[in-house]
């Protein structure tokens, strides 16, 4: 039984019900669904700066809060780290129903344990029926075609959150579309007097996202608006009431063709409800003062990435990214204020199933108290599609 307490759970329940309702009656000997399966094996070999995390999870991927700050570790270079946690497997089913084509996708990887394990993790699980999507996938707020083609996977200015949602995408003709979505309403709060960020989840209206997309031979661009309610679900202390603030954020993103296969990708985000959606949740959505007042964190982030094809089988990406938060003065000085990353890679695809890449990554972050630090990393990546 799925407890009916969060919009995301309701979304999953609705997904199951929708699937059952639209499953063709077996007595009518309906055509079986078109089933396809695929994925890739991705082996990464990394050498570079040691992360600040005690469990060394940041040694194998760019995790912004793990970029070490002053004082730096005594030995700041780790010879080699190897993992295949970003290997993925997906299964897709397409079934004709009386209401139209029903499409389902489940995708997972091995990144549940960010330390040394290779435990399976669910990335996507959703149903699509015409303009309706229900399930877990990327937030509607992000334009995934604008994300940079980098082996590190993420840049600090990315919006890459995946969670449960219900989305209606309406085509407006001539390459335009409008999306409206209700999404999981998780909050990440910093409470005065602490040095950490706490996630709180339930009994709140879902986040509301609206997005307009425009596609053409020139590429694509999108504008997204996010509205969220940020609240303390429980009184933070005796005699203190809960508090609620309504926040918003805007994102402008796209991919512009610059000749041949080359393209320029960009993503600029700003708002006081952006924090959880951007920069891998490095910043708190809000700070809760000693008096219990919710003070939203104004955040902005950006990404600029140019992809160039030296030849049809050789490509490079140069990506620059940043993010910055301006939290309330009651926020702990040990939390992050700003981060930047730079990526440069060269990827060779000797066959249509194999790619080999080398990438240099530079990461930097600073804290609210002014401390800062950086991390350099070189990584080799092999990907085999199946």
């Amino acid at each position: 039984m799925i407890p009916d307490r969060a919009p995301g759970n309701r979304a999953l329940l609705l997904t199951l019900l929708l699937g059952l309702l639209l499953t063709p009656d077996q007595s009518q000997a309906a055509e079986p669904p078109d089933l396809s399966m695929g994925g890739f094996f991705r082996l990464q070999l990394l050498s570079g700066g040691i992360s600040a995390d005690r469990n060394r999870s940041g040694d194998s991927e760019l995790w912004i809060p793990d970029i070490p700050v002053t004082p730096q570790p005594t030995s700041n270079w780790k010879p080699v780290q190897v993992h295949a946690r970003e290997s993925r497997l997906w299964v897709r089913a397409v079934q004709e129903t009386p209401l139209g084509q029903l499409e389902a996708l489940v995708e997972g990887d091995l990144d549940a344990d960010r330390h040394d394990g290779h435990d399976p993790r669910l990335r996507h699980a959703y149903l699509i029926l015409g303009p309706l999507l229900v399930g877990q996938t990327y937030t509607t707020f992000t334009n995934t075609s604008a994300l940079a083609d980098i082996d590190a996977g993420i840049a600090v200015g990315n919006v890459v959150t995946r969670h449960r949602l219900i989305r209606w995408q309406q085509s407006l003709g001539t390459g335009s579309s409008f999306s409206l979505a209700l999404e999981d309403s998780l909050n990440r709060l910093h409470f005065s007097g602490t040095n950490s960020i706490v996630s709180t989840g339930d009994r709140r209206p879902p986040d509301l996202v609206m997005r307009f997309d425009r596609n053409g031979d020139w590429g694509n661009a999108s504008v997204s608006l996010l509205l969220r309610e940020i609240t303390t679900t429980e009184p933070p202390g005796p005699g203190i009431h809960t508090d609620t603030e309504l926040g918003s954020a805007l994102s402008f993103a796209g991919r512009i063709a610059t000749g041949g296969l080359d393209n320029l990708r960009f993503m600029f985000n700003y708002g006081d409800a952006l924090a959880r959606y951007s920069t891998l949740s490095t910043f708190a959505d809000a700070s809760v003062t000693a008096a219990g007042q919710v003070r939203l964190t104004a955040t902005h982030s950006g990404l600029l990435a140019w992809q160039h094809f030296w030849a049809p089988r050789w490509r490079s990406t140069l990506a620059l990214s940043y993010s910055r938060a301006d939290p309330h003065r009651s926020t702990s000085g040990k939390l992050s204020r700003e981060s930047r990353s730079g990526h440069a890679n060269l990827i060779w695809t000797p066959t249509q199933r194999v790619s080999l890449g080398i990438e240099y990554l530079y990461g930097w972050r600073s804290l609210i108290n002014g401390d800062s630090g950086n991390l350099d990393r070189l990584q080799l990546t092999t990907r085999i599609n199946f």
Partner: protein, 201 residues
């Protein structure tokens, strides 16, 4: 990806590009007589069809520029296997997309397939126009027969490619194989016509 090369009638452009200066580059090889005009027209037509076969990969934009400039015949100019090569390469890049999900990529593939189908149909039309020229081809003897056979083969292969794309049966591997066959046909045509054009000088 196969790298295509094209040749103009006078084979003067080693880069494989149809330059915007093409009309000025035409040397006065053929006198301006009714026969010469016909010869020039046929030569022009063949150049477009043959150049449509050829590409160094990603020059569709310059093609589009020429089309908007109205330098070339519109129907022939739609014949763009350069566009085919570009669309094929775009199809291949989707294989290594790291961020978009399979359902999104499947739709992107469908859009690419539609573009490929349109380009292939244009190429097919161009090949048909060559076949419709009949005896006007500036070739003789068995060269004429061979040339027409190759044009028919080009028409047929373009049709297969367009049909595969329209039916959603086009995989990157199929695309590469079909483009490779098209390339072979194009090269045979180029070689034949260059040899013959050389004897006309």
């Amino acid at each position: 990806m196969t790298c295509f090369r094209s040749r103009l009638c006078d084979s003067s452009d080693e880069t494989g590009r149809l330059s915007r200066r093409w009309p000025e580059q035409r040397p006065p090889k053929f006198p301006i007589t009714p026969g010469g005009l016909l010869h020039r027209y046929v030569c022009l037509l063949l150049a477009f069809v043959l150049s449509a076969c050829g590409s160094n990969g990603f020059e569709a934009d310059s093609k589009a520029d020429r089309r908007t400039n109205g330098i070339d015949d519109t129907s022939l100019h739609a014949v763009m296997s350069e566009q085919l090569a570009l669309d094929s390469a775009r199809l291949n890049t989707l294989l290594f997309d790291l961020h978009r999900t399979e359902t999104v990529l499947a739709r992107e593939r469908q859009q690419q397939a539609s573009r490929i189908a349109a380009s292939a149909r244009s190429l097919q039309d161009g090949a048909r126009k060559v076949l419709d020229l009949g005896q006007a081809l500036p070739l003789a003897d068995n060269s004429d027969t061979r040339f027409r056979t190759l044009a028919a083969q080009l028409e047929s292969e373009a049709d297969i490619l367009a049909t595969q794309a329209e039916m959603g049966q086009l995989t990157p591997t199929q695309m590469e194989e079909t483009l490779s066959r098209l390339n072979d046909t194009c090269n045979a045509c180029h070689s034949l016509y260059r040899d013959r054009a050389g004897t006309l000088r």
